[in-house]
């Protein structure tokens, strides 16, 4: 604790400075007077007595200084002095200060902004009790690590596991909420009654579910989100017990969740949006049938159980269930994923890459400022030597210079925070949908703490080397120097060159990384979707289809959709209207196994034929401009009445009918309750349905009558701006059924755009940082070359006098600059070959060492560096001979 005491002495000494000084002064005076008096008593003359007393006392100034240092306050005093001196120095050279602060602000600001996102996604506590013990439990198979699970398996897991303290199931639903006010489509979840106790979430008002709520017939109760409570119920504190009409059935509101809870697992989500209301799942015995996979599960690890133990036991259970229910479960395992990992998902890697990138930018900024300081230090050599001559020790000078660099860093930090505050807003507005799952991204206290640490670190990092260099002074030499001598500066120039090489290498790594992402993004954007997304409006409508609701039978649904389609067709400005069950590019789809008539069924589930399944009307293909390759499309009658026809895509035809004509063949899918052999009547072109980076999979399109989903998405090809017809299209649905809410209305091109939002986010940011890095390192090399040229003006003069032409001088300077650049490029290439491998999972159809990128970008960097060298080189070549020779 002695250092604490020292700090206390220093601080209290600093603030009681006057008192301490007075005390020392009084004691000294008392001593001197006593001694003088005694000398007089011994017979000296008063004048002599006083002189004698002084002589015997020693160096008064020195003793006062030493005493004060012991009595405390001196260090703080010196710091204060250093600080004031530092401020004066910075104010005196505003150009230098502005460049340094701006450079640092870029580095620190970028780091702060990225850290605020990283903090929200990877570090900040999730709003669930002891969230690190929560895991998501998936089924997995050959195709995917995260597959939705079957209720029957879920109940078996619940009964057989000993690793979870609780295991809850949930699945997304779209709900029409009416009663008071406009009908509204609200994303929700149906959950087992234990969901909230597993999550460790308490209701803010009312209660969450009890086991009673899960009994069939008693489950007409809902818990609502804070957002829905505010929006629809105006934050009414009497909302508990209110009756609402949910999917045409009366429900009672029993609880409101706290605002921070946004329970939503994006993967396999049927709505793509955070749930706003929850309803208990009535567990009936037929759910135990092994049929269909559609639910998700979350579990809390039992105390003392590790993730590995949980994975091991669930693996054993999966093996047992696969053995017991071969037909349904073979090929399926269980995958246990920690909640945070599930949430961060693929954005985690991107964030780490970006964090690395901004780290590089900060390093480059530091190198630049260090270079500036080095150059300035040699300009300040005389000043420093004078201070040393006046008695400042090396430590004192070092401290002074470090105070200055910390001051610069602090200024840069403040400017950086302003930049980050703005940058964070931009980041959030660009952010991919995954970010929405996390709490507000903001500059919070931990982020500020991070910035403070970065400021301290950068202040020391960029300040230490120049300060050590500058404080190594040989007094006599420097004071005598006229500035013409170069000997003292060779070392710092060499250091400056090393910094430039490092900068160029770092910038090149960033450029290469960004280049790869840009190439990959362009490839992704250039992917042929197989349809024309221009001028298409999509509108999703989910009918309440539960038992007892308005659309509880197939005929009613078919009727609604076909009528709506007919009416939309007649609207002005519409070229074609179609409908499909899954909105394209929301990432949703169903895949199922099928049999081909006349062929034996493959022995294992893995070897089963599989196809995507979509339900459409006859005009869907025309509306999206998916070409019919062979055969025909559905007739109107086939869409309304069950006629057992199907249209397939070319991928299916190629994969399963490579050497025969699929038209007229019949296939049976395992999806419907009573599978019927269905005739292939047409083949259409391949079109992407879930995402641009997805492989083109076999796909089958079924007319609405053969799978009347309660939800459909209308796709409308318009003659002009798609948004212009939105109101008219809504009106059609509202006149058909005033109770019916409308889901999202979006243009198809914005859906396609959103599906690559994450890639756009990564690419754009990395590109911006790479450009910043490129500019900073160009400034860096420019600075070093300019400084070098200025230092060598005299030498240039001599060379010119000896007959060197301007071209010779130009060549001389450029050669030196290019040497540094090429060295930096070489180091950067080597580093990049290793580092870009980390990007592999972010790249789409571009190799991590894509040759084109690895050739063009180093060339680009070298040309920018060449330009940055050319300007100072030209200046050197133009120097007037007489000026140069006189130059000091």
């Amino acid at each position: 604790m002695s250092w604490l005491k020292t700090i206390w002495w220093q601080l209290s000494g600093f603030f009681r400075k006057g008192k301490i000084e007075r005390r020392i002064e009084e004691e000294f005076r008392f001593h001197l007077e006593m001694r003088t008096q005694e000398n007089i008593d011994r017979g000296m003359a008063p004048e002599e007595a006083r002189t004698q007393a002084r002589r015997q006392f020693g160096n008064l100034t020195y003793l006062t200084e030493v005493s004060r240092e012991i009595r405390g306050g001196a260090i703080m005093d010196m710091l204060w002095q250093d600080l004031r001196y530092g401020v004066r120095m910075l104010v005196k050279s505003p150009g230098f200060t502005a460049v340094a602060v701006l450079t640092l602000a870029l580095g620190i600001g970028a780091n702060t902004a990225i850290f605020s996102v990283t903090h929200a996604v990877l570090l900040r506590a999730l709003p669930y009790g002891d969230a690190d013990r929560l895991v998501i439990v998936w089924e997995k198979n050959q195709r995917t690590e995260q597959n939705v699970i079957s209720p029957a398996n879920f109940f078996n897991w619940q009964e057989q596991n000993s690793v979870f303290a609780g295991l809850a199931a949930f699945f997304d639903t779209r709900n029409s909420l009416s009663g008071d006010g406009e009908p509204e489509e609200v994303p929700g979840q149906i959950t087992t009654d234990n969901l909230f106790s597993v999550l460790g979430v308490q209701a803010m008002l009312g209660r969450t579910f009890t086991p009673e709520d899960g009994k069939p017939g008693q489950n007409n109760v809902v818990v609502i989100s804070y957002g829905l409570w505010q929006r629809r119920f105006g934050g009414d504190s009497n909302v508990i017990g209110r009756k609402v009409i949910l999917n045409a059935v009366e429900h009672t509101v029993i609880g409101v969740l706290p605002p921070e809870v946004k329970w939503h697992v994006r993967r396999n989500s049927q709505t793509g949006r955070a749930a706003e209301l929850w309803k208990p799942w009535a567990i009936t015995s037929d759910l135990r049938q092994f049929r269909g996979r559609f639910i998700c599960a979350v579990a809390r690890l039992r105390d003392g159980v590790t993730l590995q133990q949980a994975r091991a036991e669930m693996g054993t259970i999966a093996g047992r269930l696969a053995e017991q229910y071969k037909q349904f479960n073979s090929g399926y395992g269980i995958n246990v994923v920690p909640l945070r990992q599930q949430f961060a998902g693929e954005i985690r890697l991107a964030l780490l890459v970006l964090a690395g990138a901004v780290g590089f930018v900060l390093l480059i900024a530091c190198a630049n400022v260090a270079n500036l300081l080095l150059a300035r230090a040699s300009a300040r050599q005389k000043e420093i030597a004078v201070r040393a001559a006046l008695g400042a020790g090396r430590v004192r000078i070092l401290r002074q210079l470090l105070t200055e660099s910390l001051l610069l860093a602090a200024l840069g930090g403040v400017a950086g925070l302003v930049l980050a505050w703005w940058g964070t807003k931009v980041l959030v507005s660009l952010s991919p949908p995954e970010l929405g799952d996390f709490q507000h991204v903001e500059i919070s206290a931990p982020v500020l703490g991070f910035t403070f640490a970065v400021v301290l670190l950068t202040g020391v990092v960029f300040g230490l080397v120049p300060a050590t260099e500058a404080s190594k002074i040989r007094l006599s030499g420097t004071l005598k120097e006229t500035g013409r001598s170069l000997a003292g500066n060779t070392r710092s120039r060499r250091l400056g060159s090393a910094l430039v090489v490092a900068e160029i290498a770092l910038a090149l790594v960033l450029l290469l990384g960004a280049g790869l992402l840009v190439r990959s993004f362009l490839r992704l954007q250039g992917v042929d979707t197989g349809f024309n997304a221009r001028n298409v409006l999509t509108m999703r409508v989910a009918l309440p289809g539960a038992p007892g609701a308005r659309y509880n039978d197939d005929a009613k649904r078919i009727n609604f959709f076909t009528q709506a389609l007919e009416r939309m067709q007649t609207l002005p400005g519409i070229e074609a209207v179609g409908a499909i069950n899954y909105t394209p590019f929301l990432g949703l789809g169903t895949t199922t196994g099928f049999d081909i008539e006349g062929r034996p069924r493959p022995p294992t589930v893995q070897a089963m034929n599989s196809t995507g399944v979509c339900v459409t009307d006859q005009n869907f293909f025309r509306a999206l401009e998916i070409p019919l390759k062979r055969g025909r499309l559905f007739t109107e009658q086939e869409v309304r009445e069950k006629r057992n026809v199907v249209v397939i895509n070319e991928a299916l035809a190629k994969k399963y009918f490579p050497n025969e004509d699929p038209l007229g063949r019949r296939l049976t899918i395992a999806l419907s309750p009573q599978p019927v052999p269905t005739e292939i009547i047409g083949i259409v072109g391949d079109a992407k349905h879930t995402g641009l980076d997805q492989q083109t999979e076999p796909m089958s399109y079924w007319p609405i009558a053969q799978g009347p989903y309660p939800f459909m998405t209308f796709v409308l090809r318009t003659r002009g701006e798609p948004a212009a017809v939105a109101a008219a299209v809504r009106h059609v649905v509202q006149t058909l059924d005033p109770q019916q809410p409308i889901g999202e209305v979006r243009t198809l091109s914005s859906l396609v755009g959103d599906s690559i939002a994450r890639q756009r986010f990564n690419t754009l940011l990395l590109a911006v940082f790479a450009v910043v890095a490129l500019l900073l390192s160009a400034v860096g090399i420019y600075g070093v070359m300019s400084y070098g040229v200025a230092q060598r003006t005299h030498e240039v003069g001599i060379r010119t006098a000896l007959g060197a032409t301007a071209a010779d001088i130009l060549r001389l300077v450029l050669k030196q600059g290019m040497k540094l650049t090429l060295l930096g490029v070489a180091v950067g290439m080597l580093a990049a070959v290793t580092l870009t491998r980390l990007l592999k999972n972010l790249l789409f159809s571009v190799g991590a060492t894509d040759p084109l990128t690895f050739v063009t970008l180093p060339l680009l960097l070298a040309s920018v560096a060449l330009l940055a060298c050319y300007l100072p080189a030209r200046r050197a070549a133009k120097v007037d001979l007489l000026v140069a020779l006189r130059y000091e």
Binding site: F28, F30, R35, F57, G58
Partner: protein
Amino acid sequence: MAKIDLLQGTLDMLVLKALSRGPMHGYEVTRWIQQTSDDALQVEEGSLYPALYRMEKRGWITSEEGLSENNRRARYYKLTRAGRKQLETESSAWDRLTEAIAKVMQTA
């Protein structure tokens, strides 16, 4: 008699010794050291004060205002328990040192 320069630690010990006789102000300490050593030990008088401050910081002595013999305000220093202990350690170390050096020096 020739005058001897004092080593830092030795000065501390002498000051502690002086104060072990009772509270004194700085000038009295100087005078006491000079008189008891018959002026053989010459302290640069001012250097006494940094020594006093240092020992005060270490907690060996404390100080308070008082009135001097000629009725002037002066700062009096007093040994603390820690200071007394320090004096004991230092004087026994000193004894051992001088004894050892004497032995060495006596061998002709």
